[in-house]
């Protein structure tokens, strides 16, 4: 899943500046109100510390997007 959402692009850049490379951010929810972060190599506690800065980019909530979301359901 990729996104052209400007908020998401800026959030990915922010994570990169904090040493979290390769993170993917996707807007989710009924209004795109959730920044869903996929960064398997990152410690969730590090992502949590950055959540307020990501929210300030225009999201209401910041959440961890587990890899299992991409598994094909039977």
């Amino acid at each position: 899943m990729t996104t052209n959402d400007e908020r998401a692009v800026r959030a990915e850049a922010l994570l990169g500046r904090h040493g979290i490379a390769g993170a993917r951010v996707v807007p989710l929810g009924a209004y795109g109100e959730i920044a869903a972060i996929r960064a398997p190599a990152a410690d969730p506690a590090d992502l949590a510390r950055l959540a307020p800065e990501i929210r300030a980019l225009g999201f209401r909530y910041v959440a961890l997007d587990p890899p299992a979301n991409d598994e094909v359901t039977p």
Binding site: L28, Y31, E33, A36, P44, Y61, V62, A63, P66
Partner: protein
């Protein structure tokens, strides 16, 4: 006399002044304490605890209310409420609680009149004024009194007094209705409420105690309490697999955890239609 004990005395005196009461009873910490004190002060002939039953009340919550009432000799009545049929409720605007509580107190008012009970009371406490609560406005329209709040009792004090009385509810997590988990602007339907109820049962079966499943349409966002947040991160994949089986396309874990009234943070979204 400690402050909380003095407030409890004030509460007991006020209930005696009321002479008879109909208690809006959810089985949660506050209304359970209130019902227990009310039956203590007024006796079972001059009080009645009433629980509104609808898809927004979980089966577990209803069971807790029944068990508590039976254990403490509290007369208990369940009444069906029809808020789901009211489009002003189901559209899920920020004033949703007003229409739900209006329906509830309308039904309880009928019960009180038939049973000859003088005063409708709820379990609102002194802390509740700090959150956005349109339901309180509905209660005021029906003349509902809030004796815990009027006595100045805070949630922490109610928990301490409940513990002193030996009530099993003293450490029960707050359990607002299931509709409070649906993001504002997304309609409340029996199907969505059932998804939330089942999702929370699954998470509870993993050993978690204090959390919320927030319904964002195709997405479930789980908020764990700070104490359980790291365990929630560790279980993220397992929970995503299980909750997707309930019909959610994606399941995400909120990085900041459970915050009381978290969906009220989305009020601006509903009001303006944009972020």
């Amino acid at each position: 006399m400690p402050v909380a004990a003095a407030k409890e005395e004030r509460l007991r005196a006020q209930l005696r002044d009321f002479r008879s009461v109909c208690v809006g009873f959810s089985g949660g910490v506050d209304s359970s304490f209130l019902a227990r004190v009310a039956v203590d002060e007024l006796g079972p002939d001059r009080m009645l605890a009433v629980t509104g039953v609808s898809p927004s009340v979980s089966a577990a919550q209803l069971s807790d209310a029944r068990t508590f009432a039976a254990a403490y000799g509290i007369p208990h009545l369940e009444v069906d409420t029809g808020e789901m049929a009211d489009p002003r409720y189901s559209r899920n605007a920020p004033d949703r609680c007003f229409y739900c509580k209006s329906e509830l107190w309308n039904r309880l008012g009928d019960v009180a009149r038939v049973r000859g009970l003088a005063v409708l009371v709820d379990g609102a406490n002194a802390d509740d004024a700090s959150d956005y609560r349109p339901g309180t406005r509905a209660g005021q329209a029906f003349g509902v009194r809030s004796p815990l709040a009027e006595a100045g009792l805070t949630k922490a004090e109610i928990r301490a007094l409940s513990r002193a009385l030996g009530l099993p509810t003293w450490d029960r997590p707050a359990a607002p209705c299931l509709a409070s988990r649906v993001v504002y602007g997304l309609s409340v339907t029996p199907g969505r409420l059932r998804q939330i109820e089942l999702a929370e049962e699954i998470i509870r079966s993993h050993g978690f105690v204090e959390f919320r499943v927030r319904h964002h349409g195709s997405v479930a966002r789980i908020e764990f309490s700070p104490a359980e947040l790291n365990a929630g991160f560790a279980s993220a994949d397992d929970l995503a697999r299980e909750l997707r089986g309930l019909g959610f396309e994606r399941v995400v874990i909120d990085l900041e955890g459970y915050r009381r009234g978290a969906l009220n943070e989305g009020l601006a979204v509903v009001a303006t239609g944009e972020l």
